[in-house]
């Protein structure tokens, strides 16, 4: 249980590392494998090299021991000092090795003594420290321990042999030794030699066994280390790549979902590495996107709400205007009818009782009420023009203008006015409204040319600043350009009512109509030079 949780914690910590660190970790594992193998190999070589050195040392040791036996035996027979000296030289080798061994057995050996000992043991100078180290490192290994035990026992036998050698030397140099004693000593030495031979072989075998053990141990260690490290490295690599793939596919799937409009989707964050950070950033981005979408929606709703409110206000205002016009149309006309009707009745029934002034007053009364009726008429038209819907249709302006001109000429047949109407003028717009506009413009021209004996009125088309512009031109009374901006205001009149009758609403109506078609209208003129009204629809 605790191993599992430790494993999980480890896994979590591993996955939370950044991607380069993960990759470096896997690389490090493999570097470790190689390092471990190199280390084990090196260590193994050290061991083998040590074993070799000891086997070599043992050879020298054995050879010297045999020589010592040989020279001692020879000395026993020849009694020559030279032979004894040869013996001493030979026996120095095992003694040197013994000195090194005894020093190495100490807890803190003096390596100068050790090296001196091994040098006396005729070992190669380069092998000295290898042998010392082998001894220190592997003393605890059973095989090596046994070899050391054998070596110690051999040294004991060597000591016994030296004792015999010294006895022989003393006896021969003093001449106080019997031949029987010499034979007994030689027999002892032979026995010792035989026992030493056994130990020497045993030492070699033991070292051989140690080398074989070391070989097996090293091979197993290398195998185990390689297997463990490769397994760990492979596990980590696989886990990281699998995790990374899962994470990336979750990220890309999430990105696809979000791009398809699922702004509620959040990609699960499973690590703290770069992909994890990217996921967190992506989720944050999605959240911001959703928030801004929501805000846009809210603003839109508010805007729509405001539009609805404004529209309602507008509609209410329109309704009010409509109600106002309706009531004007009904309630203002009735009294006018009364005024005119009773004036007429007065004239009819009591006309003979009135003098000329009375008749004149009655005429003024009737003229006033008629003018008032015209104003009401024009106001209602203006209001209607403002309220009514604009129906789009093909409108033949030339035909409309000709009809209006014919009507004007029919009502005042005595006037001499020349109409010039360009053919084929047509546009898209509301036929009824455009007709009202043309009626007002042509009617104005008709009215303001009335003081001239001859007049001409023109309706045509021209280009103005790249646009098609229609115009109505006359050679009548014209107007002062200083007041051009006042022309289109309701009730604004540039001429006195005595000169030209009118209500001052006609051009305001024209402007309203043109504006409702998305166009504009303007006038040019000069006093007594005529006027031209241009409009674009």
């Amino acid at each position: 249980m605790s191993t599992t949780s430790t494993g999980l914690a480890l896994r979590r910590r591993l996955l939370s590392l950044s991607i380069p660190v993960k990759v470096n970790l896997v690389v490090a594992i493999f570097v470790l494998i190689i390092a471990a193998l190199i280390l084990i190999g090196y260590w193994g070589m050290e061991v083998f090299s040590g074993a070799r050195a000891y086997v070599g040392g043992e050879g020298l040791w054995s050879k010297s021991q045999k020589q010592a036996v040989y020279y001692l035996t020879k000395y026993a027979h020849s009694r020559q000092d030279a032979d004894y000296r040869s013996y001493l030289r030979a026996i120095a080798v095992p003694l040197g090795d013994k000195k090194a061994r005894l020093e190495l057995e100490k807890p803190e050996p003096d390596y100068a003594v050790v090296y001196q000992g091994f040098t006396e043991g005729r070992n190669h100078p380069e092998d000295l420290w290898i042998m010392a180290r082998f001894f220190r490192w592997l003393r605890a290994v059973p095989y090596v321990g046994r070899a050391v035990v054998i070596w110690t026992r051999a040294d004991e036998l060597i000591a016994a042999m030296i004792e015999r050698g010294e006895e022989l030397r003393r006896g021969i140099s003093t001449g106080q030794i019997s031949p029987q004693r010499i034979d007994a000593i030689l027999a002892d030495i032979e026995t010792l030699d035989e026992r030493l031979t056994v130990l020497e072989d045993d030492f070699s075998y033991t070292l051989g066994a140690a080398a074989r053990w070391a070989k097996r141990f090293l091979a197993s260690a290398m195998l185990v280390a390689a297997v463990i490290f490769v397994a760990v490295g492979a596990w980590m690599g696989l886990m990281i790549s699998k995790h990374l793939r899962k994470e990336l596919s979750a990220l890309s799937d999430g990105a696809v979902r979000v791009s398809q409009g699922d702004l509620e989707h959040r990609i699960p964050v499973v690590s703290d590495d770069e992909v994890g950070n990217l996921t967190v950033t992506f989720n944050q981005m999605t959240e911001d996107l959703a928030a801004s979408r929501a805000q846009i929606r809210r603003l839109n709703t508010e805007l729509e709400q405001r539009v609805i409110e404004r529209t309602a206000q507008l509609e209410a205002a329109n309704k009010e205007l409509e109600a106002f016009s309706y009531s004007v149309s009904h309630d203002l006309r009735a009294p006018l009818r009364g005024i005119d009707g009773f004036s007429q009745a007065l004239l009819d029934d009591y006309g003979d009782k009135l003098d000329e002034t009375g008749h004149h007053y009655l005429a003024r009364l009737r003229a006033g009420s008629r003018h008032m009726a015209h104003i009401i008429e024009d106001l209602l038209n203006l209001s209607r023009v403002t309220r009514s819907e604009v129906h789009q249709a093909h409108v033949d302006l030339s035909a409309q203008a000709r009809t209006i001109a014919a009507e004007l000429q029919r009502t005042h047949p005595q006037r001499r006015v020349t109409f010039t109407i360009e053919d084929g003028l047509s546009t898209q717009g509301d036929p009824g409204l455009l007709r009202v506009a043309l009626e007002n413009l042509l009617g104005n021209s008709w009215k303001f040319t009335s003081k001239h004996a001859r007049a001409s009125i023109e309706f045509g088309r021209t280009r103005h600043a790249g646009e098609t512009v229609y115009f109505v031109r006359d050679d009548g009374a014209g107007f002062d350009m200083a007041y051009a901006d006042k022309l289109f205001r309701a009730f604004q009149r540039l001429h006195s009512a005595d000169d030209f009758e009118g209500t001052g609403i006609g051009l305001a109506t024209v402007q309203r109509i043109v504006q409702r078609h998305g166009g504009r209208v303007w006038g040019e003129g000069a006093v007594e030079q005529g006027a031209t009204f241009y409009f674009v629809v």
Partner: protein, 151 residues
């Protein structure tokens, strides 16, 4: 059989007086032959007296109804609707006589079954001509439904 008469539904006393004067001067139909009611409620009370036997007209029907649009209590369009809804008055000619020339009023009146729609001119001369012509047309020229109207 009672003498034929006109029902004039008009709240404006001036208009009533002027119209009666025009009728008198043109000899059509006489002063005594015009029943004047001052609003829609009065008109309906005249046409359908309370307590009258249902199913038959309580009194002779007018040859024509001259009906104003805008009146207190009950307007002309509502009167027209009731007149057309009732089987006894369904076929009585109704002429809308009003100051309004609003498209809406004209359309609605015809939709509700008005026989004619006349705008009262403000000009007294034209007004005289209009009212005189109306009287002549509806009182003399126009053929009425023969006999009592069956429910």
């Amino acid at each position: 059989m009672e003498a034929p008469f006109v029902l004039l539904v008009e709240d404006n006393a001036d208009d009533v007086m002027l119209m009666l004067r025009i009728f008198a001067r043109t000899g059509l139909p006489g002063d005594d032959r015009v029943v004047v009611t001052r609003d829609g409620v009065e008109a309906l009370d005249f046409l359908f007296p309370a307590g009258a036997d249902h199913g038959r007209a309580a009194r002779p029907l007018p040859r024509v109804i001259f009906l104003d649009l805008k009146m207190p209590r009950l307007d002309g369009l509502e009167v027209l609707r009731r007149v057309r809804a009732d089987p006894r008055t369904r076929l009585v000619p109704v002429v809308m006589l009003t100051s309004s020339d609003e498209e809406r009023d004209v359309t609605q009146s015809y939709q509700l079954g008005a026989n004619s729609y006349i705008r009262k001119p403000e000009d007294s001369t034209q007004f005289s001509e209009t009212v005189g012509a109306l009287g002549r047309y509806w009182f003399h020229l126009n053929q009425v439904v023969p006999g009592p109207i069956q429910a």
